[in-house]
C-alpha cells in the first residue's frame, strides 16, 4: 500500500522560516533596496547620451582613475601589512601587543573627518612626519592613499586573524618534516590557506575606500584632474543642484563595487567548490 503524502512538507525542524524570511526581506527591502533604488530611479531620468556624457567627462574619468588607483594601492598595502600584522598579533608575544590588537579597530570608530584632519596634521609639509620627507605627501595622491589605508586597515587584519588562529599547525609541521624551509612553508602551505580571507578583506577595504569621502577631502588637495576623488565629484554635482548627475556617477561607483564584491564572492564560491567538495 503505497501512500503518497499530500501534506505540506516542512522545510526544516527549525521554526520561524516564514517569519525570519519575511522579516529579513522586509528589512532589507525597506532599508537597503528601496533607498538604493532611488539612485537608479533618478539616473533613469537622464537620457542614455546624457548619462554617458556625464560619466565619461574628462574630470570624472580622471577621478575614477585616482579613486580606483588610490583605493587599489591602499587595499594592496592593507592586504600586505594586514597579513603581517595579523601574523605578528597571532604568532608572537611582545609587550604592548594587547594594546595594538585593540587599536586595530579604531578606524571604524573614529569620525572620518577627524581622521582626515589628524592625518593632514601629520603629513602636511610642516607636519610631524611630513617635514622629514623631501616630497609632498598631503595634498597629493600619496596623502589620499594614506587616508584610505587608515580607514580600510581593520578589514584585512580582522579577516585574516581568525583564520590564522585556527590554522592547523600540523600542516606547517608536515611541510617542515618534508624538508621545506620557513619561507617555502609560508608561500606554499600557509599563504594559499589565507588567500580567501585576504581577498575578502582586500575587497571590503577596496570597496570602502572607493566610497570614502570624509577623511580624504582634508588630505586630498582636491585639485581637479589631479587630486579630485570621485565622491568629491558627486558632492560637486550636488552643490550645483545636479541630482541626476550625482546619482549617475553614484550608479557607476555602486555597480563597480557590486561587481567587485560579486567577483570576490564568486571566487570564494569557486575555490570552495574546488577544494571542499
Amino acid at each position: 500500500m503505497k501512500k503518497k503524502n499530500r501534506k505540506i512538507k516542512r522545510l526544516s525542524v527549525f521554526p520561524g522560516f516564514g517569519l525570519s524570511l519575511g522579516f529579513t526581506m522586509l528589512y532589507i527591502s525597506l532599508l537597503v533596496l528601496l533607498p538604493l533604488s532611488m539612485i537608479f530611479f533618478y539616473t533613469s531620468m537622464m537620457s542614455w547620451s546624457e548619462f554617458w556624457e556625464t560619466i565619461v567627462e574628462p574630470r570624472v574619468v580622471e577621478s575614477y582613475k585616482l579613486s580606483f588607483g588610490a583605493s587599489f594601492i591602499a587595499a594592496c598595502i592593507n592586504a600586505i601589512f594586514g597579513v603581517i600584522i595579523a601574523w605578528v598579533l597571532v604568532r608572537y608575544q611582545f609587550p604592548g601587543k594587547k594594546l595594538i590588537d585593540g587599536l586595530v579597530d579604531l578606524p571604524f570608530a573614529l569620525p572620518t573627518a577627524v581622521a582626515g584632519i589628524a592625518l593632514t596634521t601629520l603629513y602636511a609639509e610642516n607636519g610631524w612626519l611630513g617635514q622629514f620627507f623631501s616630497f609632498k605627501i598631503a595634498f597629493t595622491p600619496i596623502g589620499i592613499t594614506i587616508a584610505l589605508i587608515f580607514i580600510g586597515l581593520p578589514f584585512v587584519v580582522r579577516m585574516v586573524q581568525p583564520v590564522l588562529q585556527n590554522f592547523e599547525t600540523e600542516l606547517e609541521e608536515a611541510s617542515a618534516i618534508l624538508g621545506a624551509n620557513r619561507l617555502q612553508t609560508f608561500l606554499k602551505v600557509i599563504f594559499p590557506e589565507l588567500l580567501p580571507a585576504i581577498i575578502t578583506g582586500f575587497a571590503l577595504a577596496f570597496a570602502r575606500a572607493l566610497g570614502e569621502y570624509g577623511s580624504v577631502i582634508f588630505i586630498a588637495g582636491n585639485m581637479p584632474m589631479k587630486t579630485e576623488i570621485t565622491p568629491l565629484i558627486i558632492m560637486t554635482k550636488l552643490e550645483q543642484y545636479d541630482y541626476t548627475g550625482a546619482t549617475s556617477i553614484a550608479v557607476v561607483m555602486l555597480i563597480m563595487s557590486f561587481i567587485i564584491l560579486l567577483f570576490i564572492n564568486g571566487m570564494q564560491w569557486w575555490s570552495n567548490k574546488k577544494f571542499m567538495q
Binding site: T121, E125, N126, G127, F139, P224, M225
Partner: protein, 327 residues
Amino acid sequence: NTKETNQDVTAGDKKKLEILNVSYDPTRELYEEFNQEFIKYWEKETGQKVAIQQSHGGSGKQARSVIDGLEADVVTLALAGDIDEIANTRDLLQKDWQSRLEHNSTPYTSTIVFLVRKGNPKNIQDWDDLTKENVSVITPNPKTSGGARWNYLAAWAYAKEKYHNDETKIKEFVSKIYKNVEVLDSGARGATTTFVERGLGDVLIAWENEAFLSINELGKEEFEIVVPTISILAEPPVAVVDKIAKKKGTAEVAEAYLKFLYSDTGQEIAAKNYYRPRDENILKKYTDQFPEIKLVTIDEDFGGWKKAQEKHFNDGGTFDDIYLPQK
C-alpha cells in the same frame, strides 16, 4: 545663551512660536548675538516668546536641504543664487524675493580681501601679485564652496577693469592666479586651515569677515590683511521662505526678524561680527575696521547670480576651462 532660551520655549506654553533660521557657516556668532536681541525685542513689542533655531552649513548644502524639505522660516545664505534655487525648484518663495527687502535683501555685506603672513614677505598688494610665478595662492574650490565663487568673481572683476573687457585676457589672468593655487579645499574652512595650520601658500583669498575671524581666533601676530584695489561686494542675502512660514503661522515674526537686521541693533551686531553694515552711520563708526575699496557688484558687473553661475561655474564654464586640458 541661545540654547537655553530655545529649550525654555520648547518646553513652555502650547502656542509656542518657533522659527528656524537656516544659515551658512561663519554666521554663528553673528546670529547667536542677534537672536537674543531679537527675542527681547519681539517680546517687548508683542508680548510673545519666540524661539529661534539655528542651522549652519555650507551655503549650497543648506539651500539643498531647504529644497529637500528642511522647514526653514528664514534663510540667510551666502549667495542670492542659492535662494534663487529655492525659489525656482520648489516655489517656496516668490521669484522676486530679492526686491522685497532693502538693499537687495542684503542687510550686511562683505568683500574679498587677502590674508598674508606677518610682514607680507612676498609683498602682495593687489590681484596682479597673485599671478606672479613664485606666489602660492590658497582659495577653496568654487564648485563646492559658495564663498569661493565670490573670490573668483572678484579676481575676474579686477581683470575686467584692467583689460577693458577683453575676455581672452581676463581668462588668462584668472587662469594664472588659479595655476598658482596649491590646494583647492572643498570649503572656506579647509582653505583657512591649509593656510594657517599647514603653513601652505603665501596668500589666502578670503571674505573680509572670515579674514578677521581667523586673525582673531588663530593669531593676530602671525597674519595681516591686505586690501586689493578692486574687489567685489559680497552680498549674503536673507529671505523669508513664505510658504513654510505661512504653513507654520510664523510669517509675521519671520518678516520682523529679517527687518530687525536692518535696525540699528541689527546693524551694530553685524558690524561687530565683521560684516559691513548697510547703515552709513554705523559703517562710519567702524571705518578703522572697514577701509574703503572700490567695489563692483554682481548685478552690475555680472548681470546677476544666475548669469554668473551659468557662465563661470556650471560644468563647461570658465572655471572648468582653467583646469580642463585644452581641446
